[in-house]
C-alpha cells in the first residue's frame, strides 16, 4: 500500500497584529488514510518574540500515513490563538493548506483568517478581549459555501514540510 511520510515543522507565524501566539494544529485526511505513526494533532507553546514580529514555534511534525487512495490527501489545519498578558487565550486565526503532493522539501505559508463579529462584538473584543470562533470548526476545511461569513485576514503560519512518498508508482500514481 502506498505510504506518505510527513516530516517537518511548524516554524512560526508572522503578520499577526498581536504577539504571544500559539497554534493548535491538526492533520486531516480522508477515510482511506490510516495513520501508522506519529501525532496528527498537537499544540505549540506560546511564543512571545522579543525581537521582530515573527513568533517561532519550531514544532515538529512527523506523521506516517498509509493510504489506499488519493482522495482526502492530508491537509494541515491550524488554529492560531493569542495569549494575552493575563494569560487568557483567544482565537487569532484559522487556516489550512494541503500537504504538497510532490515529494521533497516544501516551505508553506498558510494564510489565516478569523471571523468578524458585529460592531458590538468588535467593541467588546477591544475592551474585554475574546474572539469570535466558528461554532462548527469543520467549516475550516469543508468546501461548502462560506459566503455569508465575514472574516478578517490575519497573518501567516509558516510550515516546512518534507514529503516522502512510497509505493505510489506501484499504482500508477506519479508523485
Amino acid at each position: 500500500m502506498a505510504e506518505v511520510h510527513l516530516i517537518g515543522q511548524i516554524i512560526g507565524a508572522s503578520g499577526f497584529p498581536k504577539q504571544g501566539l500559539f497554534c493548535k494544529w491538526n492533520i486531516q485526511t480522508g477515510g482511506a488514510w490510516k495513520l501508522l505513526q506519529g501525532a496528527k494533532e498537537g499544540q505549540t507553546q506560546v511564543d512571545t518574540p522579543n525581537i521582530g514580529e515573527t513568533s517561532y514555534w519550531s514544532h515538529p511534525v512527523d506523521a506516517h500515513y498509509a493510504t489506499r487512495g488519493l482522495q482526502g490527501w492530508p491537509k494541515i489545519l491550524v488554529q492560531v490563538f493569542h495569549q494575552d498578558s493575563l494569560g487568557r487565550n483567544s482565537l487569532a486565526g484559522y487556516g489550512f493548506c494541503h500537504v504538497p503532493t510532490s515529494p521533497g522539501h516544501h516551505n508553506l505559508d498558510i494564510m489565516t483568517w478569523r471571523p468578524a463579529g458585529s460592531f458590538r462584538d468588535t467593541i467588546v473584543q477591544h475592551y474585554l478581549g475574546g474572539s469570535h470562533q466558528l461554532r462548527n470548526p469543520e467549516l475550516m476545511v469543508s468546501s461548502s459555501d462560506r459566503h455569508r461569513l465575514t472574516t478578517i485576514a490575519m497573518g501567516k503560519v509558516h510550515i516546512q514540510v518534507g514529503v516522502i512518498v512510497r509505493n505510489f508508482d506501484k499504482f500508477g500514481v506519479e508523485c
Binding site: K24, G87, N89, G129, S131, Q133, L134, L149
Partner: protein, 1634 residues
Amino acid sequence: MPRPVKKLEKLEMVESRGLPPLKNKAKKSVSWSPQEKFSEQPPKFFQRQKSSIEEEVQAIEVQAEVKPPKKTGSTQPTPASSSSSSSSDESLSSDEHHSEVRDNFVADVSTPIPEQPNRRTSRIDSLKGLGGSRSLSRQLSSRYVDHLRDESAQANAAFQEHQERKNKRNRMADILVQDQNHADDDEAYDFFTKNWDDLGTTKHDQEDEEDGDEEDGGEEAVGNDDTKTLVKDVIGQYGYEWTITEKEVKSKRSKNADKDLCFVPSTVQAETNLKLNPNEKVRFLEEEGIYIGDPPFVPSRIQNKMENRILHEYLDGWRQGEQKRWFGQNGKLLALPNPILSHSTRPGEPEDLDPTLETVYCAPHKPGPNGEPAGTNIPGSGLNQAMPGLVHCFLEVDILTIVFHHHHLFSLEHYLASKLRERFADYQEILYRKAKLDLDRRIRVLYDAMTELKEKLEIAVQQKEREFQTRRFESYRKEVKVIREQRDEESGRERATIKEILTLWRTMRDIRRRQGYQSTNLKLTIHKENASLIDDQTQWEQELTREVDEARDDYHDNLEFLTKEYEEELRHWKQIHDMRKAAYKRHKKMKKDSEKGIGSAEVDEIAKDEELLASPEPEKPQPPGRFDEEHVRKMLEEKARQTRRPPGETILTLELSQSSNIDKDVQDNRETSRRHSLSKMKIFVKLFFNGKEVCQSSTKHIGEDFTVPIAQIFPLQITQWPETLKVQIFEGTKLKTSFLSEISLPICESDTVLDKADVNIIPFQSTSRVKHDNSGVGSCVDFSANGDGSSITSQPTHGKVFVRVGWGRTSDGTILSPPAEKWSPPKSRMYGQDPLEDITDVNGRIESAKLDVWMTKNEIDPMDPKNQDLMDRVLEAGKSNVDRPDSNDRNESSNSGSGYAPTLQGGGHFRLDDYHDQFLLGTSSAIENNPRFQMLKLRSSQVAEFKNYRMIPINDKEIPRGIFESLKKPSLGSKQGLLDTEPLRQKFKTYLEQLREEVNHNFAIARHKKRHCDVINEVPLPTSGTMAMLFGEMVPAQRPLKPYRFPRPKIILLDGQDLKILISVVRAFDVPVRNDMDPLQSNPSLQGKNHREESIHGMKENLVRSFVEVRFQGQCQKTPVAPGPNPAWNEEIEFTFKSPNNDFSSDTLNRIKDNLHLHLFDEVAVDMLEDEEERPREVHQRFERKWLGSLAIPFVTMYRNTRIEGTFKLHSPPVLLGYERTGQTSMASGFWRENTDMDQPPKEATYLSIYLTINPPLSNPEPIKEKLECEEDDNLVRHCEKWHRDLMSKFPNRVFSPMVADLTGKSVLVTRYFRAIRPPHDVLENNDQNPEKVAWFVALIPYLPRNALFPGIQAIWPTCEQFIKMMVGSEVEHAVLMTNYFTSLGKKAYLVLGQGIPEGQTAYVLTAEESGQHWLWNVVTGEHFNTSETFCPLVGVTAVANESNVWGNVQSSDAPNRMKWDLTNGSDWTPLFGSHLTLPDLSSVQPTQLSTSQPDQRAATTLKDKIEKKIKSHISSLRKRLKLGTPLNFTVAASLKRLLPALESNRGGIAEGRILATEHLAELKSASAAYKICGFPLHFGYSHMDQIVEALEATGVHLNREPGVEFAVAVHVEPFPQTVMSVWIYVASLVRRR
C-alpha cells in the same frame, strides 16, 4: 391624401404586433356578428353541442358572405336603416348597448368644458382607428380598396370641416372661459360643483344661440340622436358601417371601441369537449402512470382566456384535421413541464445565517491548573458547548409505549399472531394500493383505446396517418402488456398474502386447539362473497382471448427475426459440421496410414483435428416453431389461474380483530412458567442526552400482549446544545437486567411543544441470544414455526417504540426552547448539506429499505425522467436483494476482495458515488493486514512487545513470521482451560493481565497530567546558602585517611554506550565442607585425593575448594578456586549488559526480567588414573563441580539501586548430601557479633560478600508523585505531605510517603491497608496458631519483583484481595497480607519498609514476640530473624506501619540490629498521627475475609507427575548434548521420595538442617554403601515450570561425567489453598563406589 392612410398602416402594425396569431377570420366573425359578445353570453356559445357548433359556424359564414353585398348595395345608409337591415333583436341589443355606453360616458365625464375640443379629436381618432381596423380587416379583399379610398377622402374632407368647426368652438370656449374668469364666487363655485350635464346643456344653449347650425352637432356629441346628423353630414355611404361607427363615436372611448372591435376571450373555463378531437375521449395520462410534469403555473383566468382564444381561432382548423394540436388528451393546454426550479440554484441571501457558519463569541479564558488545551478541538467537538445564557430550556421526552414484534418470551402463538398481524398489514396495504393504482380500470381504458384505434386503422386511408396510428397502436400494446403484468403481479401478491394469512390463521387455530388454551386475543374474520360464475366466466374468457391474440401478434412480429436468426445459426452449424466430417475422414486415413506405416502429416493439423473432434458436436438448430394456439392458451390460462381469481371463486375479505379472550387458567407447565417469567420480566428505559445518561424510567411489566406502556415524560433542563438523544431499552427481572437495544430519537424543532409533537415510531432490534426452557421461543434461537418441527426459523427480539419529543412550556405558554435563530435540530445543522444522511447506513452505503421510506417521504416521482437514474439503481438494488439472500457475506467479500467494487455491492444497497471505489489503490484490509503497518502501529501504540523496536524492516518480507502471535494469546488462553500447559494459574494470569491493563490505563492518564516542573527543568538560582556550599566545596576537608566515595552522576544512557555490570566477589563464609559418609572412607588408598588434601590441610573441615560462577544473560564467568570453608576470592568480574533492541529507556530496563545468578560450587578433582602404578609419575584428574548454593539478583534491583554491596545469604538446600556445615568455624572466625543471642541456634547458611554495580549509573524515572487523585481528607493529605517532607529533609535516603497508590491510580493512606484477615482454614489445622505456618503459606505465593509486576509503575499497592486473585506479587503485597494474617492471630504485627538485600526497596513484617524480642519476617522466604541478628537481609529500615499509625525512623542508624524498636519513643520514631492529628476513622480497603479455594490434592498430583517428567526429560536432554547417557536409579529415588514430606512438614527445616541431614543420611545409608551420593533437595513455591528447570540446570547436577553415573529424582508437591503449591525436588547423582 397621405396622412390618414399612414395612420391606418400604423394601426395595422400595432394590431399585428399585439396579437400575432389572430387572423382576419376571427375579426371577421367579430365584426360580422357583434351580437356574439362573449363577455355577455359565452356559455351559450360554448355549451352548444358539436353539431350545433358546426351549424353555428356555418351560419356565421353564410351571414358573412351575405352581408357585404348588402353593404355595398346600400348607398345612403342611415343608422335607422342599418339597424333595421339587421335582425330586429340585433338592433335592439345594439341600441341597448348604445344607450348604456352613453350613460357611462355621461357619468364619467368630470372634466370641465375646455376638454370638449379634445373630446372631439378623440372622437375623430377613434373614428380613424375604426376605419383603420376596418380597412385592415379587409385588406385582402381588393374590392374594398376602392371603398377605402373613397372613404378616406370623405373622411379627410369631414375632418377638415370638423377642424374648422373645432377652431371656432375653441375660440368660443376661450371667450367663455374669460367670461367665467370674470364671474363671481358663486359662479365659480358652480363651475366646479354643478353637474356638467347641466353645464353642457347651458353651454350648448349658448352655442345654440351663437351658432345655430353647430349647436345641433354639439348636442349630437352628447345626445343620442345627434350622431345621425353628424354622420349624415360627414360621411355615410355604407349603411352597415355606420351601425358600428355610430357606437364608437358616441362612446368616445377606445376601450369600449376595442371591446367591440377586438375579440376579448372569456375567462370562464372552456368546455373540455371542445378542446378534444371529436373522436377522442378524455384521458388522464397521469392516472395511467405516465409521467407528466407539473406545467408552469398560469392563473386559471388567464389560462381560460388563452384556451378560449385558441378555441375560437382554431376551432375550424381542427375540424379540418389540422395536425397542430393545442390541447392534450386531458383537455388541458399542452405544456412542457415547468422548467423553473422551485428552489434557487444560486444561493440567494438567506435571512438567517446558515448554522454551520455561525460564529460564537468566546470570552477569553485562562487555561486551568492542569493546562488543558485552549480552544475547541478541531474535529467537530466544538458543538458540545454550553449555551450562553440559555438556562431555561426544557426538553421533554415522552416515551409512550414499547411494542414488541418479537420477544424471547413470545410463545409460538404469539409469534404466529405477530406474523399474522404483519401479514394483515401487508394485505391491507395491497388493498389500498390496488384501489389507488386501479390497474383494472387502466387496462380496460387501454383496451377500449386499442379497439378504437383498430377501427381507425381500418378506415384510415392516408399512408401517413396509417403509420401514425400503427405506432400508437404499438405503444398501446406495449403499455397493456406492462400494465397487465403489473396487475397480475399485484393480484398474485394479494392472493399469496391471503393464502399466507389463512395458513397462519389455521396454524394458530391448530395450536390453540392443541394446547387447549389461548394466549393471544387475535381473531380473524373471513367474509365471503359469492361471485357470479357466468360473469366471471365471460370476463375470464375475454381476457384470455385477448391475451392469446396478443401473443399471436407478438409471434408474427417476431417471426421474421426468428427465422433470420435460425438461418444464420443453421449456416454456422453446417460449416462446423462439414469441418468435422472432413477432420474425421482425415483422422481415419491417418490411422490407417500409421497402421500401414506410410504417409506423413503435419503435427499442427493433427492436433487441430483432434481438438475439433474432441469437442462435442453442436446441436442442430431448430427452426422457429409454428404458433401453437392451444399450447399458448393453456400456458396463459395456467398463469392466470395463479395470479387471478378463477371464475366462480368466492371473493374473500379478511378482517383482523382482537376480540377473543386470553385464557387465564392454563394447565401446561411450560406455558405457566413462561407466563410466570413474563410477569417477572420488566422493562425500563434509560435516556441519554448528548451521550450522557440523564434519566431512567420506572420499571414496567410486559403485558400479555407484549406492549409496555412506559407512559412517562422526562423533562430535561438542558444547558448544552442538544445534539443527540438516545434511549436504551433494558429488560430483566429484579436481579438481572440486560441491555436490549439503543435507539436515537430525533430532536424536534425549537417551536414544537410536547403536546403538539408528532408521535415518532422508532423500530429497535436486539441481537442478543436468549433461550428459554419454557414455552417461550427465545430470540435468535431456532424454533419450529408450526410447532410440529417443520419450518425452522429464528427471530431476534424487535419491536417499536412510540415516543414524542417536544419542548417544555411554562404556565403562561412560553416555549422553553432555544431560539430558533440560534439553534436548529442537529440533523439540519450537522448534515444540512447532506440529504443522504437519512438513507445511508454506517458504511456510507445506501440501504434500499431506508431509501424506499425516504422516497415516499420526499415524494420522489418514479416516472419523472429526471429520476430515471435513481430509479434504475433502486430497482437494481432491490432485485439483487431478492436474488442474493446471503448478500451480507458476499458484500464483505466483494468489499475486500476487489479494488473495482461494482456499483452494487451485494444486495440491498448501492453507492451514489460508484466510481469512487475505482480510484482506490487497494482495500482497507490490505492496510490492516500488512505486517509492516501492523508493526508500525503496534510500536506507536506502545504495545509492550513492539514498543522497543528501533527499526522496522522496510519490506514485508523481512518481518519474521509469527511475530504477532504473542498478541493473540490472551484471547485463546481463556478458552483453552485444562489443555493449557499451565492450567493451574490460568485464572490468575488472566486476572493479572486485566489488572495490568487497567493499571496501565489509569496511570497513563495520571502521567499525562503534567505540571510545569515536569516539563521545564529550571536550575534554581544560587542563594546565599548554596553560595556558601559552593565555597565550601572549593576548600575540601583534608582527610586523606578517610576514603570518600564520590557519587557518580546518574545519566540516561544514550545509543552507542555500553552498560557494564561489575561484580566483585569478595569472600564467602561458612561454606559446607565435604563430608563423605562413605563407610569405606577409612581406606585412604581408595580416596587418594581426599587423603592428600587432608594431608595438606590437616583438617577435615577444610576439605572444600570452592569457586563462584556468575551467570548473566547467557554469559558465564567464574572466580578462581579458593580452598577452605571461608574462602576469599577478591575477584572482579565484568559483564556487558545487552538490552533487547538496544533500547536503554528506563521503561524497558524496568521490564527486564534477567537475573544475575551467583552459584557457589565445590570443585572436586576426580582421579582418573586407572593404573595405580603410574600415580607417582602422572597426574590425571578431572574436575567436577558440586553445587553448594546460589544467589539470584534481579537486574532491576541493580538498575534501581545502581550499587549493591554486602554479605548475602546464599540460597542453599537444607540438606546437602556429602557435605556438612561447620558453624563453629564461622563463629570462631570472629565475624559473628559476640553478643549474639545464644538462644537461637546459629543459622545454617552460607554467606557471600559481594560488591555489585552498573557502569555508568543510570537514572531512574521519577515516581509519580502528587498527581494522583485522592479521596482522602484534604487536611489529612496535607499533614501526610508535611510529615513526609520533614522526614525527607532529615534523612533523604529514607523515602516513604504514607500515601500510596492503589490500582485505580488513586492515593490512599497506607493505614487503610491493614485489617485483621483470618488466614485460610486449611493453613491452620486444628486451630494451630503457629505464625510460621502462615508465613510459610504467604511465602509460597509466587513472588515477582516490583517492576516486573506492574512494569514501569512503582509504588502500587494492590489490596490483599487483588493480590490473592493475582496469585503473584512483590514484597509489599506479601508483607501486607502477612501482617494482616498475623494481626488476626493476635500478634502485634507491623509492616516494615526499608532496604533489603538483594531486592533493594523491600517490605518485611515485624512482630513483637512475647519474649520482648522483635522478629523480622522475610515475606518471600518465610524466614524470621531476630532484630539483633547480624546477617539479617534487611539492612535499612525506613518506616513502620500498621492500621493505627505510621512511624518514620529518625534514628541515626537504620540497620535493624543497631536500632531501638520501642515505637512509642518519640526521639527514635516519629509517628504520623500523634499530638498534631489523631488518626481519623478510616475504612479499610481490605475485605474482612478472603475467599480462597480449597487445597487441591488432585492438581498437586498432576503437577507432581508433570514436574517429575519434565525434570527427567530435561536432564536427559542436557546430558544428551554432552553425549552422555542418563540412567535413572529408582531405588534411591524411592528413598529420596520418602524424605521429602518430612522436609515439607518441617517447612524446609530452616532451623534444623543438621538434624535433617543426619536423618537423610540414615535413610540413605544402604544406598550410600553402594553409591557415592551427591544430591540435595530444592524447594519452590510453585509459580512456573521454567523456574524449576532453570534452577535445576544452574546447579549443574547433570554435568557429572563420571562413567556409570546414575541419577535419582524425586518430587513432592504439597497443595495449599488458592492453588498455592509447595514443590520439593530431590535430585541426586549416584556414582557407584569402586
